[in-house]
Point group: C2
Chain length 334, copies 2
């Protein structure tokens, strides 16, 4: 019910996800009338794997998270997370109020032992056609060294399980590569990671290396991660839109314009894997359950990607594996 | 003498700058032998507007700034800044150790009244073909609310003087647009700016708006600014390099490849204003003198742009105008 488009994106996206994955079952939590009206033309076989769970109200995107959480009983977000808590669902996906989702998820699903605060993680495509796990993207505004180490451990598990990378490289995002640079929290985390042989820590990386594939896991605090990711998305979207606008130049002869369009399509295909729509869905890591935050402005295709991410996290048993790794690593490093 | 290429970039860049600006005089501070050997083929008329100031040593890029500053007597950076302090030069340009340059500049040139710490500023091109003043880009690792307000005032003066914008819009970089979001320092600065009628404060902007032209001045702390700018540059460079690599596809027939290259050149021209080389040179604002930091890896063209920036800051009397504005604004807002 949340996000910029209410149920109008998630419902058709759900049908899309069900069509592409025959093992998937989805519970749609929200206003039954609105949801049903969007399912009238749905294929019967798909409809059979969909269940509607009624919810009276919705948390608005611009509600203050703390206020929204206090008054959340009966909202679609609260009920959806309760499904996970009760074991009726294995994951919750929402495009709604990010702060409320993170707060409520922490309250209802509880952090894993050894985790102070959960972190938002995404998997970014990079230039070498591989992928990088990046966290925290804004679950926390500031993070101390111990929290950054927890993020590093969770990120390493994600890279192993979801990207199938053995001994993934882990780096901290900083403003230079020298050991003396940056915030105290980062230098503290760096010192701790150097003493953690279970993590393949490679040191600091700068913002310019976000997409170069020099690391498999990039760790930063939530403020920096959020600004960095949004900056990157802004630049990528600008470039993709500039490529599209090429043919507004009407002075060009028609056949050159047609050829231009062909070449643009090739280029767009080549750059397509960098389109933010293709990697929608940030995973809230560190909880006893799977929670995926979709971009509020996600379109149908992007929301379907977020559903895929949830399915993948459940199949790979991400929360269980993170819990096991924390148990193995954290006591020793304390 | 600093930067990735020692004198091999700044010396030819100086000749380029002298050729394009007949009013410019340059002092080259460093190893006279090395510099002279790079001037053997220089035009006599240009050579006449160049003076070599000998310096025995160089601060290395990887020296710790505090150590480098203590042992800086006799280095090219120290002597160059002294020229400005003594009134023998009106600006200092360096591609050397950023931390040392900022520390030494503050020590020798002193901050203006009302400035706690200077800030690194650059002018970024945006999508609407205008420009945005962005600061701090890394002069300080963390900044409190009062410092962010000082940055906002300096940025507004830059937008007025250098970009000729009347009543420039000023925004704070944050992780959301709601008043309750973000770091305490940012919320504190926001409250202060709301009570400063001399500044046309428009609120928070997110990373995705860095290049959209929604503001004329974007203020952030040095850590976030540095990571954001480097992220943006990394993405832009990646796109520009992907455009170049297009024609590696040898399966295409030759005439399509030739046409493709023509279209690429057009596209590169269209995107060229976003190339980081074209806006090289961050200005250290808040000092009693003009100091420009060139990218350490700047090429000849980019270093010449940094020289242009210095000339422009001097001509527009940036330090004097910032001092005047601080006097007008700060006492009232205290």
């Amino acid at each position: 019910m949340g996000g910029d488009f209410g149920p109008y994106v998630p419902v058709p996206a759900s049908l899309q996800a069900l069509a592409s994955n025959p093992h998937l079952h989805l519970l749609l939590v929200g206003d039954p009338d609105k949801i049903t009206s969007l399912l009238t033309t749905a294929d019967y076989a798909l409809r059979a794997r969909l269940q509607i769970i009624p919810a009276e109200s919705v948390i608005a995107s611009d509600d203050s998270p703390s206020k929204a959480i206090r008054a959340s009983r009966g909202t679609s977000m609260h009920i959806a997370l309760e499904q996970v808590k009760e074991g009726l669902a294995q994951a919750c996906i929402s495009a709604g109020n990010t702060g409320a989702l993170m707060g409520l998820a922490k309250l209802l699903l509880k952090p894993l032992d050894g985790i102070d605060r959960p972190a938002l993680m995404t998997v970014l495509p990079h230039q070498q056609h591989g992928k990088t796990v990046v966290l925290d993207l804004g679950a926390n505004v500031d993070s101390d060294g111990a929290m950054l180490v927890q993020f590093a451990i969770m990120g390493a598990v994600m890279a192993e399980e979801v990207l199938a990378i053995t001994r993934p490289r882990v780096a901290l995002l900083n403003i230079g590569q020298e050991e003396t640079k940056g915030l105290i929290s980062i230098r503290d985390a760096s010192a701790k990671l150097c003493e953690t042989p279970e993590i393949n820590y490679i040191g600091y990386l700068e913002g310019k290396d976000l997409l170069t594939g020099k690391t498999d896991v990039l760790v930063c605090d939530g403020f920096v991660g959020n600004v960095t990711l949004k900056t990157m998305e802004g630049v990528v979207r600008m470039f993709l839109s500039l490529l599209k606008l090429q043919d507004e130049d009407k002075k060009t002869v028609w056949w050159l314009r047609v050829l231009g369009r062909v070449l643009q399509m090739r280029l767009a295909k080549k750059l397509g894997h960098l389109n933010p729509d293709h990697y929608n869905g940030a995973c809230l890591l560190g909880l006893r359950g799977t929670v995926i935050k979709s971009h509020g402005a996600a379109n149908e295709r992007a929301f379907a990607v977020a559903i895929q991410q949830a399915e993948q996290a459940v199949r790979r048993q991400v929360p269980e594996r993170i819990a096991a790794r924390l148990q193995a690593v954290l006591p020793k490093s304390d």
